[in-house]
Symmetry: C2
Subunit: 431 residues, 2 copies
């Protein structure tokens, strides 16, 4: 058998998986590496945090995707660094050589140096974040139920979301419905009912990139739900019990969700690759890391010189796919193709019955937009079983105004009790 070039793909997100799909059954040996044994459908991650759907429903085993493939393998390993001059990837299970490398490791939350943000705010970029956030939110209600004094409950029942982009907006709407629906019924001892969701956006309006009318519509809908919008202000500090804003105001809260920005992974620092100021890998139009011939970077981790590409799943898929094509073109001696983002539009859900949709030629909102959002996300979700499960969950929530996954997941079998103190616990519910 003649030598088959080895392509190593780092990351099993949208960019990495679609690159591997493109290389499936082509004359190369492909190895996908991810720290998790599954692909995560990130567009629905916030629904895990809001107790709408179950963890396993947005996860799909990578090995199952490539079961029938003869040339795509997978290993579960943590990538530690890349050594370009040796064509080597160093992982926690060993060193792996490559001929071509596709880096698709995604992004992490950017806190822009805001004091306390990294320490006290919750990111929402991966499954463990969603579990931690869900556990924390539900625990805040349990904790508040021990407090007789309404004033002391305030920081436990204020929920602050930083960032008025799609993730922040969708999570805010979903959280508000969780609070006003099932939690209000569960925590009768917390009446009068004071929980409050706050959404903070530095721009004067939320949802940058949408037409003006839709942005106003979205703001109106969020306000109607009872969400407090703080626009045109930014966060200057996060502490364990409050958030300070640029207008001098403060919100007492123990829950800050940071959906305000992304950057390249911290670990990229010593890989000898060209980075931009946001720690993303600089690539040329063919998606090769600048200065390298056999290293591609795709998805959120990449930044194309002189081209703006939004950090969304369709862009990651298009990039992964093109990088794979360019590797095949190299091997055939064909010219490299240049990346050009095809904007198929975008959509944001605003809770029950409401959404906005924008495409090149169409703009619509309301119920039809909402149905479109549900349908498209269901169709894009990987795995038929996951689709059936998510659909059942959505239908259940819609019909009964319930959220099924309202459990504080214990992550360790040995739970350590917190400090011993004496409080008064209400015995029965107030009528």
């Amino acid at each position: 058998m003649s030598y088959r070039p080895k392509v190593v793909i780092l990351g099993a997100g949208f960019a990495g998986i679609w690159a591997a799909k493109k290389l499936n059954n082509k004359p190369v040996d492909v190895l996908v590496i991810d720290r998790n044994n599954f692909h995560t459908f990130l567009p629905l991650l916030y629904q895990v945090a809001a107790a709408e759907i179950e963890i396993e429903q947005i996860a799909y085993p990578v090995r199952q995707m490539f079961r029938k493939s003869k040339n795509v393998g997978f290993i579960k390993a943590e990538v530690q660094r890349v050594v370009p001059k040796e064509n080597l990837v160093i992982t926690d299970v060993g060193a792996i050589p490559y001929d071509f490398l596709i880096i698709a490791l995604g992004s992490q939350t950017a806190y822009f140096g805001v004091p306390g943000a990294q320490e006290f705010a919750f990111p929402l970029k991966a499954i463990p974040h969603a579990i931690e956030l869900r556990n924390h939110i539900l625990s805040m209600f349990e904790k508040a139920s021990f407090e007789i004094e309404p004033k002391s409950r305030e920081p436990m029942l204020n929920f602050v979301i930083v960032g008025g982009g799609p993730t922040g907006v969708e999570f805010a709407a979903s959280l508000q419905e969780l609070i006003d629906g099932p939690l209000k019924k569960d925590f009768k001892e917390l009446r009068p009912w004071t929980p409050q969701v706050h959404l903070i956006e530095a721009n004067p309006k939320i949802l940058k990139g949408y037409p003006e009318k839709q942005r106003y519509y979205a703001m109106r809908e969020l306000k109607k739900k009872g969400i407090v919008l703080h626009t045109g202000v930014s966060v200057t500090e996060v502490t364990p019990s409050e958030v300070k804003l640029s207008d001098g105001s403060k919100i007492r809260t123990e829950t800050v969700v940071w959906a305000a920005g992304i950057q390249g992974p911290e670990t990229l620092g010593d890989w000898n690759l060209p980075l931009n100021s946001r720690k993303q890998i600089l690539v040329d139009e063919t998606l090769k890391a600048v200065g390298y011939d056999n290293i591609f970077a795709v998805g959120d981790i990449a930044s194309i010189q002189d081209q703006f590409v939004p950090q969304v799943a369709p862009a990651a898929i298009q990039m992964g796919s093109l990088a794979a094509s360019n590797i095949l073109n190299s091997l055939k001696g064909k010219p490299q193709r240049k990346f050009k983002y095809k904007d198929k539009g975008s959509m944001t859900i605003l809770g029950r019955n409401k959404a906005i949709v924008r495409t090149k030629h169409l703009k619509f909102k309301g119920f039809i937009a909402w149905l479109s959002w549900l349908f498209l996300h269901l169709m894009k979700l990987v795995g038929y079983r996951n689709r059936a499960m998510v659909l059942l969950n959505w239908a259940w929530s819609y019909i009964f105004y319930e959220r099924a996954a309202r459990i504080v997941l214990p992550l360790h079998s040995d739970e350590k009790p917190v400090a011993d103190k004496t409080v008064n616990v209400q015995m029965a519910k107030p009528l």
Copy 2:
């Protein structure tokens, strides 16, 4: 309003919840305390460990059960100890006074002093155990996939289950089907396929309490599946890489599941309550802790003098219910009722299409028994949504021979890489 006696129930398992149900809308104030905010349906816990169903599907929020109740409250707290002479429960959130106490804290795994067992074997008594075990089993396959040498793979691919009772048997059958079905398709690089499930039982036959014929049938069915039965031998030592048996033999394994016995929780030691040798609370026939008038113990944590009660859900439900009745009888000045276990029979599933069922008057096995097991467990599961979800999962697994929840759940957002070492990784799948 006249004084209403306060009943505190420790634990939201079968015994605790059914006690609370009995006291619902009666002239007492009830507080249920559990470390988790949900009730766990333990009979299906092993299916979470075997990647058959999702975590949230066997959990049901306690608050939701008592939403409409006017006298049953709940707090999520860790019980630290009971101080009987002060009628006080000490929890991590404070001290809680009671007039009547129902202790329903369940049991923990008993390792019978076998060296290494507590340290290296996996218990299977609570949701975090199931997650840890599922993660571990799937990780063993991932780890084995780095090993070129079949001999080194052996301990990673031997799975030893200790205890031939219902839990051990049901888990063994389910694990064997997980391995022979989806995992065999996922890990083509591990061929020739050598994973092996072992079941160890100290008695000469498994499933004590069933008729002889059914016990033989079960053993035959497990063997047919490919499970290696080790009967009449006990475990003398567990190490990180092997299990030693009383007949001098050894099994090389990194996975030992301990389903061999239970005892009362360790923490009971300093509560001043009468305990038996297995650290369970000794109760009289009215289910009161011996020597106390206002403290009841029910479910797995209780041991009735001169009466054997099996540690199963129906017994816990019957005990919880009777303790609640006796409290109401005390308040009305009526005599106390004595507990008498009503054995409604038992059933054990042996994987696909096979089960055994035993009632007072009937014994049957095979497909009809299997359908009965599925139907009964589905009906007993708390929550209509959970039932629909589990049914969908079962149907999916049955039709497609798949297991949906094959994900290694990351429990922390910051994963620490293990020590740096260099291994050879196979690039592509062997054809």
